[in-house]
Symmetry: C2
Subunit: 202 residues, 2 copies
Amino acid sequence: MSDVDINERHKQKMQKQKKRVDARIKEATTERGVFVFLTGNGKGKSSSAFGMVLRALGYGQKVGVIQFIKGNRTTGESLFLSNLHPDVDHYQMGTGFTWDSQDRERDIAAAETTWEVASQMLSDDSYDLVILDELTYMLGYKYLDVEKVLDVIKNRPVEQSVVVTGRGGGARLRELADTVSEVKEIKHAFKSGIKARPGVDL
Amino acid sequence: MSDVDINERHKQKMQKQKKRVDARIKEATTERGVFVFLTGNGKGKSSSAFGMVLRALGYGQKVGVIQFIKGNRTTGESLFLSNLHPDVDHYQMGTGFTWDSQDRERDIAAAETTWEVASQMLSDDSYDLVILDELTYMLGYKYLDVEKVLDVIKNRPVEQSVVVTGRGGGARLRELADTVSEVKEIKHAFKSGIKARPGVDL
């Protein structure tokens, strides 16, 4: 096939593709906040949530970030939020990873306090975007009641978007979410002995 | 089982988990930049790359962002980078989605020019993190040669991390990458007729 043919065939293929994309954009007319759920065992769930924070900040939106699990290590997102964008409301559950604290009753109390802060954001229509980072673990350990949590998410202001991250999470969460991605680990640098990298993993 | 028993069993389980996590952290001792590849058909690949940009900015790192595909629409990441963080070097391939331009030769020329900019960043050790957003499509359409691209990524400065996003990408890319996640679409709001949302999808 000559170069001219290749270019012509490419053009026809792209015209068809453009038609498909344009038709789909035309069909999507409902305008409201969305509930995005990022789950699975691979890298990219929390990073993705923070990418949406970056996008929302680009539009000058009001953002709230709740982190349900936090290790003792410094993270880039914490440094970013506290030093560069203190305009983002940021709350971290105080107890660290649950395998660090090893104290179930203390964890439950901390989860409940954190959920109170989240609930307030989820009922305040001045927030355009609310991130509930690693929320699923609170449900998995039954520190928080899934029906109570879903009820608050469901009844949030109509223009507000919410992002939940974490492994697991269960069928009820998937059901309610508008967009669900499962991030599958194909491989991870950590497992080849490479230390977690500031600016990438931390 | 009484509450006391539940709490004690939880404590034992968490102690075991802590041992496992600590051992794995101890084993991961290699310190170098990583190559992260985010692929699959679900939402969260580019968002995740921009989440890493946010983290890197938190550490005051130098970041370069190359976007190989760009539609005509405004995006939050563009607004963020140009208005709030002009310290990030940001380059967008000028032709828009390839199904918008429909001109293969023009696309190839644009891809090559864009790759030149990327190559310069990937040979400059002052960059801590380089994002190659939607690079895979340039490989899929054979606008860029995969071996040439992999060679530059492979020979980048040892402390530099690089993130490639996009569907497909092929086996050679997966092979070279340190961390590979496949983002699987379980569902997407767009397909239920909900318009792409600024601060989430755009």
